[in-house]
């Protein structure tokens, strides 16, 4: 089996992550931040250690680091939380590269009359994207939500330039780092105000983990309310982080294991991870470039790509191609990847083509995996 579906979730997980989850279940079975007995204290200590390593990794303060269930959860908290704190319904700008985890919460806010939004065309180059976002800014624009890298074709966005524009206009920049976290450097020190990240992709944590990290510049309101172990005498939700955003018991084994995943990424080094995975993608694109049956969705004008390759076999629906690959031991994801906007842009939504097959390696894939994959495609489809 060759697993190349790491943009959906990384697999396998590092042994340290598995051991951390197991240890948490054995040794940290009490509820953190609730009781005061020794087991609860030890569990709280382990959760704090995980929070600290995640905070440091993204340039955040420990208290401004919130554990969520996944990146979608974090994005909903960030987008709706900042929107609710704006007072008047704000104007939000996003792009045509965004996952449904971004566009659906924004669209729902607009449907309820709580915000309005515009979608910036990404074009082919960074400068086009920057120009298009800047051109949509209005007097009531309060939020820009943008992916750090598209989950369909892997295009990396110029977040640092967008951050400069946002900072000058007092606009909150929320970055969807679903694919970028753990693969390319992303930090609040780049001028991003809120980072949303999954724990289970490039950070190698378990599924059911995610992160919201804020620089604290823009106030947030809680989206769900409940028990936090703090301020329990009041009906009011705490107004401080992380408690404001962490109602209910957190996924304790998950977040402790996520801490181990982030430590794994730190030890490997982001540059090395990016280089390794990019080399695998390059071996695949080079190996398939002369095969006329294969269409790869990468534009030569686009400057930077995450290690993700979307492709189709000409005349073969993406799900059928992925099924054939699965039957032969190659596990990839076919379809729209929860991102109809990017597929619309690529021309893979309608007109006989529905979606793409997506290849996404992790640190555990090898050059031999790429070679076997290329050999199979070139043998099967010509």
């Amino acid at each position: 089996m060759i697993y190349l579906d790491n943009a959906a979730t990384t697999y396998p997980k590092p042994s340290g992550v598995i051991k951390a989850a197991e240890r948490a279940l054995y040794d940290c079975g009490a509820n953190p931040g609730r009781s005061g007995h020794r087991l609860a204290e030890e569990t709280s200590r382990q959760v704090y250690a995980a929070r600290e390593i995640c905070a440091e990794f993204f340039g955040a303060q420990t208290e401004n680091t919130v554990f969520t269930l996944n990146c979608t959860h974090a994005l909903n908290f960030a987008i709706k939380g900042v929107c609710a704190a704006c007072g008047r319904p704000p104007h939000i700008i996003t792009t045509d590269l965004e996952h449904n985890a971004v566009i659906r919460p924004i669209h729902e806010l607009a449907r309820r009359g709580l915000a309005s939004y515009s979608i910036a065309k990404s074009g082919k180059t960074d400068s086009e994207l920057i120009r298009n976002v800047a051109g949509l800014i209005r007097r009531d624009t309060r939020i820009v939500v943008m992916t750090a890298g598209c989950n369909v074709d892997g295009r990396i966005t110029p977040l640092e330039h967008i951050a400069e524009i946002c900072a000058k206009r007092n606009i909150c920049l929320i970055a969807d780092c679903a694919q970028a976290a753990g693969v390319i450097p992303v930090s609040l020190s780049d001028g991003i105000n809120i980072i949303c990240a999954p724990g289970h992709k490039g950070l190698y944590g378990p599924m059911g983990t995610g992160l919201l990290l804020t620089d604290g510049k823009y106030p947030l309101k809680s989206i769900i309310q409940g028990g936090t172990g703090s301020g329990s005498e009041s009906a009011e939700q705490p107004d401080f982080l992380p408690d404001m955003m962490e109602s209910g018991t957190i996924n304790t084994p998950g977040v402790i294991a996520l801490g181990s995943g982030v430590a794994f990424v730190k030890a490997k080094g982001i540059k090395r991870i990016y280089k390794h995975e990019t080399e695998i993608c390059r071996a695949v694109t080079e190996g398939l470039k002369n095969n006329r049956a294969v269409k790869i969705y990468r534009d030569p004008l686009t400057e930077r790509y995450l290690p993700v390759v979307s492709f189709n076999i000409v005349g073969v629906p993406s799900d059928e191609a992925a099924k054939t690959l699965s039957d032969n031991g190659f596990y990839l994801r076919a379809g729209l990847h929860c991102n109809f906007l990017a597929h619309k842009k690529l021309g893979t939504l309608g007109s006989g083509v529905y979606g793409t097959v997506r290849l996404a390696p992790s640190v555990f894939n090898t050059a031999a995996d790429a070679f076997k994959f290329v050999r199979f495609i070139n043998k099967t489809y010509r």
């Binding site: 009781s35 709280s44 200590r45 420990t62 172990g229 703090s230 329990s232 005498e233 705490p238 401080f240």
Partner: protein, 72 residues
């Protein structure tokens, strides 16, 4: 005499313990149920006002001191 410094959350209490131990000030993470509900903080053996100043310098703000009076 031990004092209990109330912080706003369990996370803040963990953060405070770490800071104080780095400063060689003995401190332990503590939960107390007060007349105003559940509180997390640190139990310290020393001048709580001074310890709060140490924490404030590191960005951790004390909410209340038990056994030493309210913070101004």
């Amino acid at each position: 005499m031990n004092s209990f410094i109330i912080l706003r959350s369990s996370t803040a209490a963990m953060h405070a313990v770490k800071i104080l131990r780095k400063e060689n000030i003995p401190a332990s993470y503590t939960k107390k149920v007060t007349s105003r509900g559940c509180r997390f903080g640190v139990t310290v053996n020393g001048d709580p006002e001074e310890i709060c100043r140490v924490l404030r310098k590191k960005g951790v703000y004390c909410v209340e001191i038990k056994g030493g009076g309210m913070l101004k």
